[in-house]
């Protein structure tokens, strides 16, 4: 120790300790005192990845797949990983593209995803491309095949029923229903995909991943302990018969109209066609928006579900219901006859009847079988003017109540969205329309299914279920079971029996027999099937349209309703073919063929000529396109007018608000100033 106890060694030691203390103090503030760094670290470093489980599959009543998830492959690339020595020639050869395309696609990925993040080079590779690529995959390690699933419809039918999925729009995200969705999520946009969204989509899983400085996901955060697992969507089994559905769509091809077939004992919809239909596979994957706008612009409106949304005057097919009401009110008995001489003249105008004389309306069964207009106009008036009601306004309201309970005038509650409610006028409606001055003659057309009454095909088919069941129905629905469980709480509303007003079974029996006569010896002979008692009613609906500014009578709508067999009914059906002609000419054969196919599983060779006739018929009216473009023009003008009006009213409102605000300010300002 040459320099014993040099004081400066202590200065140096204190300097060291002092600096260490300053560092520790700073660390103490940074690590324990401040919270913001913890939040910032989580913000920058944790990536919340939402994992989508596979959507549920949809099966028909015979376990045939109608909608499933098809696996497709996307080719992904991280552009900075593509080496300079990349064998572009071989790669292009494998995928069947040329060099400029390759460069263009690679550049697109580079722009979209940046050099260090993976982007889609080619989406939805064809099967051939996938196979060829997988063979040569080892040559291109910088590319990766990414598996993805898209909704696929193996049958190319039932598009409007099954619906489709699409990205949630920003407007939808604002609504409560989509509160749990993020931008870019897919959701059912129509049909069963929409109404059973909760069931089909399952439960999304959330995985927390760490990400690095280039925003690339890395290891699971905290070993995945915070992650929630995804739960696959549940499958749906439908009452729908895929084969019958396809057959119906084929029969209805090149016609405008719709078919609804329901199993009366369950309310399950066996088939629902809105024609023209479209291939649902058009509305999936990459080309959805392109195809959607094409379908949207089509004059025949294939995206419009006529079966649930369009309202038609039912024509003569309403006559069994009119009869039911008249019988139940008690104004007629089954043997009541009307001396129809080819028309009905009690109301100061002549309402024509297709038949004349011969006692074709000598009793209810005959009147139904021959579809006598005069008879039903008369019994409708009798029911409305019934003494026990006092006056026609109460009488018509009673009639309204009957029809309301038959499922008319309100949505049936079917399990696909956007259902229409048709039109069912009550006394208030006529009071309003005729300024309180009207009588049963004013509304007489309603009794024979014309006038202000309009039904959706679904309502029409549903009312056939009521007649078939003699007084009750189940809400028409598609889904039989969810994930194999028929007792799922979601399905509860469809298993509830709806009893219509207490009309006696014997009353229904009379009407049923009348309807059987329609097929056996009346207007609907076309629907006869050996060994099966079929009840039906034809309808021929007059209709008008405005073409080039003139009100013009169009070809009649052909309507046909039926159910079979009469005892223990298995199918109730309503068919409407627009602008086609007599009910028995077009709608009748369609209904009949479908009943035959459904009940006997095949169509007998004797009736092939009917099939051929339907397959070859092209019944879309030439006016459809003119009417459609006029309608669209009208809609656009109306929209523009509404926009202009809104703009104007908004600006007026703004001026009013400004004035109010100014007045308020002035008042308060002056008051305060005065106080001072």
């Amino acid at each position: 120790m040459s320099l014993a106890q040099n004081p400066r060694q202590y200065v140096i030691r204190f300097l060291l300790i002092g600096v260490a203390a300053v560092i520790l103090l700073r660390l103490f503030f940074l690590q324990i005192f401040e919270d913001k760094y913890k939040i910032m670290a989580n913000d920058i470093a944790i990536y919340r990845k939402v994992v989508y489980p596979p959507r549920g599959v949809i099966y028909d009543r015979k376990d045939k797949v109608m909608l499933y998830n098809q696996v497709v492959y996307d080719l992904m690339v991280t552009t900075s990983n593509v080496p300079k020595s990349f064998d572009t020639l071989k790669f292009c050869e494998v995928l069947g593209m040329d060099k400029p395309t390759f460069d263009k696609l690679l550049h697109k990925v580079h722009i979209k995803s940046g050099p260090r993040r993976q982007g889609a080079f080619l989406e939805q590779l064809s099967q051939e491309q996938t196979a060829r690529y997988q063979e040569n995959m080892y040559l291109f390690p910088c590319f990766e095949l990414l598996e993805r699933s898209i909704r696929t419809y193996p049958n190319a039918s039932a598009g409007l029923i099954l619906g489709y999925v699409g990205e949630v729009s920003p407007a939808m995200l604002k609504t409560e229903r989509y509160a749990s969705y993020n931008q870019g999520d897919y959701t059912g946009m129509n049909g069963l995909e929409r109404s059973y969204e909760e069931v089909l989509r399952g439960q999304r899983g959330v995985h927390y991943l760490e990400r690095d400085n280039f925003n690339r996901p890395r290891d699971p955060y905290k070993g995945g302990s915070l992650d929630t697992a995804e739960i696959a969507g549940r499958s749906l089994q439908l009452h729908l018969d895929a084969e019958l559905q396809e057959y119906a769509e084929k029969l209805m091809a090149n016609k405008i109209g719709s078919v609804v077939a329901i199993d009366p004992s369950t309310g399950g919809i066996i088939s629902m066609v809105s024609s023209p239909s479209y291939d649902p596979n058009l509305l999936r994957g990459r080309d959805r928006s392109k195809n959607f706008s094409k379908l949207y612009k089509d004059a025949t409106h294939p995206l419009f579900n006529r079966a649930t949304q369009a309202a038609y005057q039912p024509g003569s097919t309403i006559k069994p219901m009119t009869a039911l009401v008249a019988l139940d009110v008690g104004v007629i008995g089954p043997r009541y006859g009307f001396p129809c001489g080819g028309g009905y003249g009690y109301c100061g105008r002549h309402i024509a009847c297709t038949h004349s004389g011969g006692g074709h309306a000598a009793n209810l069964r005959l009147a139904l079988a021959n579809s006598c207009n005069a008879y039903f106009c008369h019994i409708f008036r009798m029911a409305a003017d019934a003494k026990k009601f006092g006056n026609v306004k109460i009488g018509l309201q009673k009639w309204y109540d009957y029809f309301y309970s038959f499922g008319y005038g309100h949505p049936t509650g079917v399990d696909i969205p956007f259902e229409g409610k048709g039109l069912l006028p009550d006394s208030a409606y006529y009071n309003n329309r005729y300024n309180d001055v009207w009588n049963s003659c004013t509304v007489v057309f309603v009794g024979m299914g014309q006038g202000e009454l309009a039904l959706t095909p679904l309502q029409l088919a549903n009312s056939m279920c009521i007649v078939a069941n003699k007084g009750f129905y189940y809400t028409p629905h598609f889904v039989k079971s969810i994930g194999g469980n028929e007792k799922d709480p979601v399905l509860k509303p469809y298993q509830e029996k709806h009893q219509v007003t207490h009309i006696a079974d014997s009353t229904f029996e009379i009407v049923q027999l009348g309807m059987q006569d329609v097929v056996d010896k009346g207007t609907g002979k076309v629907a006869q099937l050996p060994g099966i008692e079929i009840c039906a009613k034809t309808g021929t609906v007059e209709n008008y349209a405005i073409v080039h500014g003139n009100r013009m009578k169009m070809q009649n709508h052909s309507v046909f309703v039926a159910f079979a067999p009469r005892k223990n009914p298995k199918i109730a059906i309503a068919v409407i073919v627009e602008n086609a002609g007599f009910g028995a000419t077009w709608a009748g054969p369609v209904a009949s063929l479908m009943i035959e196919k459904y009940l006997t599983d095949s169509v007998s060779s004797k009736r092939k000529h009917l099939e051929d006739k339907l397959y070859n018929a092209h019944l879309i009216s030439k006016y459809t396109y003119i009417i459609d473009s006029a309608q669209r023009l009208k809609d656009r003008l109306r929209w523009e007018a509404r926009q202009a009006e809104k703009k104007y009213s908004d600006s007026v409102q703004a001026i009013i608000y400004n004035q109010k605000a100014e007045a308020w300010l002035r008042k308060n300002y002056l008051k305060n100033g005065g106080n001072r």
């Binding site: 060694q9 300097l15 060291l16 300053v22 700073r26 690590q31 670290a41 944790i46």
Partner: protein, 442 residues
Amino acid sequence: MENMRKTIFGRLDTLTVLLYCALVFVGLTAIFSVEHRTADTVLWNMSKSYTRQFIWLGVSLFVGLLIIMTESRFFSSIAYLSYTIGIFLLIITIFAGVNVKGSHSWLGTGSFRFQPGEVCKIFTSLAIARFLSSPETNFKTRKHRIIGIALALAPAVLILAQQETGLALVYFCFFLVMYREGLPNAFLVVGGCVVGLTMATLLLDKWVLFGLVTVIVLVAAFLMRNTLRRNVVAIIGLASIWIGCVLFSIVLVPFAFKNVLQKHQIDRIYSTIGQDVPAEYMKDLKPGEKVVRKVNASEYNVNQSKIAIGSGGFWGKGFLNGTSTKNQFVPEQNTDFIFCSIGEQFGFFGSFVLVGLYLSLMLRIIFLAERQRSHFSRVYGYCVAAILFFHFAVNISMTIGLAPVIGITLPLLSYGGSSLLSFSILIFIMIRLDSDRQVLIR
């Protein structure tokens, strides 16, 4: 003496060896945690830096063993020779240096590279120890003081010429050694004043500073009024201090910022004091261009580093759970910013232990130095402690935003062969000298 009878290994200072081992272990752990991915199955992978660091550790321990086997006298005898070689290498590097991230301080070809400035710290320590311990040196004379300072700063000037400012600054730590060996207090006071004045120049408006300096000088003049009345030299001295300070702050600092310092250095200095770079110092500003506030690179570094350390909390996020460091948010986190991974994964507790380890090592080396019989060993010991201290204090301070970002490593922790090897050599020579502390080395 009892001590001399033990074998050479028995005479080594166990605590120093243990502290060395502990720090190296912490370093490997930190580098491993930064590079390791859960997906990795093979641990021994030459592409990972922790594997290469492990190999460098082996090399360092081997060199350490060689040093232990070497005669103590050898180190003092080669001191001047090695210093000469070191200076020679530094001069070569200025012309033949490889460009690594903007600095020309590396020598070598291909994948083999080393930084002469790093190794030269050892040579300079030896040379200063040899110079101060030689009987001809009288450190009380001005001439020998100037020679001592020149020995320390010559490498610094050469390294500055290689544009590696951080490493050059390390050589200023030898002032601490010379202070211990008798450099007057005035040096430290003047040094402190220069640093303080520079900071004030950057932080304050120049006229405010002018007023402040003037007021301080007037107050001093008032306090010394009796002396001043009698002593003309004192008046001249005070006046020249005032003029010097004003010139320094108004002329010299702006001149240095405009003409000497580079853009990134200016950025770093201003980001440390938390200010925007004034428009007049912006190098790439075209005339008439508007000043756009943007986060510069070193500010980003420090921000990310603070986020990583600050998010650690008291106990840290746990080993391999450092989300910021593992996912490369902090640039240079293997080397200069390795402290972040400790701070993030092991929190304040871990940082406390690490600072404790460094402080123990430095105090232990000073303790060893003070118990040496030979002057050479003592001076050398102080050199080692001073270099460790400078690296430790500046490196950790820059990761927590207390000092500007200058690229210097955290001793024994940072990834890098040159750094690990040179610190190992420094420490092992000290351990070797200590084992012969009763012998007088000349």
